[in-house]
Symmetry: C2
Subunit: 194 residues, 2 copies
DNA sequence: CCTACCGATCGGTAGG
DNA sequence: CCTACCGATCGGTAGG
């Protein structure tokens, strides 16, 4: 996938779309909604984008890249599995806080991708999960992590952070430091005293 | 809200709708899709339901009831906070496994509710979260739980189970006993060894 | 439960 | 970037 430069106007359209898709969903957002939001006529949108679907594709794969490139760096770290898991949690929490709208699209709207892009997307996700599981397995092998099934471990871990982007709105900023600190502690050491 | 009896045919329509909404989303599911799925003409659907929105409303509030009634019973239990939290996790995991489709609608499609129902829905959710937080606070007060902010505690806890309904499909049954057991352990005691 | 049908809205194009 | 416009599809109704 060659990365073509994205004009300022196109960025603006993509950002507006991410916000609309976040709150209304992809299918319920019309190109008229989007045009109004960016102050253009509907037809003018098509000078900057090819189709509604192209927007969704761009948004989904951009987020996919954020995760994949982040994980790549973590895998190459000279660190033990626990430190890598810490870094994975940082990665997810940072992305959630920095890109709450596009991450919601990434999480909830990918199902509207068209066949080709959908398959590609699922492939990216499978790769990502494979990388995560390798790190978890490494943690188990080194006796740093409890020996739980990888699927449950990964899903519960990733899922436990999947509320931050959702809670975070302009009216409801979240305390990044505290949230990050406590979610990590919860995952590593649990909530039960003793 | 008086509970009127629901005919067998209407049940069938609601179930089919839940599955369609789960995989395609509410907005992208047409009444034609639904009619085809239940083997009727589109117009015939309207002998059983008032509108597409009525279906969504019914689905969302039915799930809301499952959670609310479950929590009510837990609150009345003669048990300590840790046992109640255990019961809350059972409640969520059971609902996820027994009703994966309608729970997905409940989680992801409520935003398409119309204004009145939306406000009612959010009220139900706020009440539910208040109940959860009271139990968590109880746990903190009795020194059973670590003293973390209630918001983070609740969101992370509930969120950590929010993948089970999603993973569970007809082709991919999940081992209820193991999943339940391990997710609970992860939440209470963490994943780190030591 | 079906046939026949409707107004509204959708994503998108032609042409400038 | 806009005016003008289009075919397709939408949720839903009338009438039987």
């Amino acid at each position: 996938m060659p990365k073509t430069k994205i004009s300022r106007r196109k960025r603006e359209i993509l950002n507006a779309a991410a916000v609309l898709f976040r709150y209304k969903g992809y299918a319920a957002t019309s190109m008229r909604d989007l045009a109004e939001k960016v102050g253009l006529e509907v037809s003018s949108l098509y000078s900057h984008i090819k189709s509604k679907e192209e927007i969704l594709t761009t948004l989904c794969f951009h987020c996919g890249d954020l995760y994949s490139e982040g994980l790549e760096k973590i895998i190459e770290m000279d660190a033990d599995a626990l430190q890598k898991i810490d870094a994975i949690m940082d990665l997810h929490i940072n992305i959630a806080i920095d890109h709450p709208s596009s991450i919601t699209v990434f999480n909830d709207e990918w199902k509207h991708l068209s066949e080709n892009e959908l398959q590609q997307f699922l492939q990216v996700r499978r790769n990502y999960e494979k990388g995560i599981k390798q790190i978890l397995q490494e943690g188990i092998d080194c006796n740093l992590l409890k020996d739980y099934p990888l699927d449950i471990l990964m899903n519960t871990m990733l899922s436990s952070m999947r509320w931050i982007h959702y809670i975070k709105t302009d009216n409801n900023p979240i305390d990044t430091k505290i949230t990050r600190d406590i979610v990590k502690k919860m995952l590593l050491n649990g909530v039960a005293r003793k």
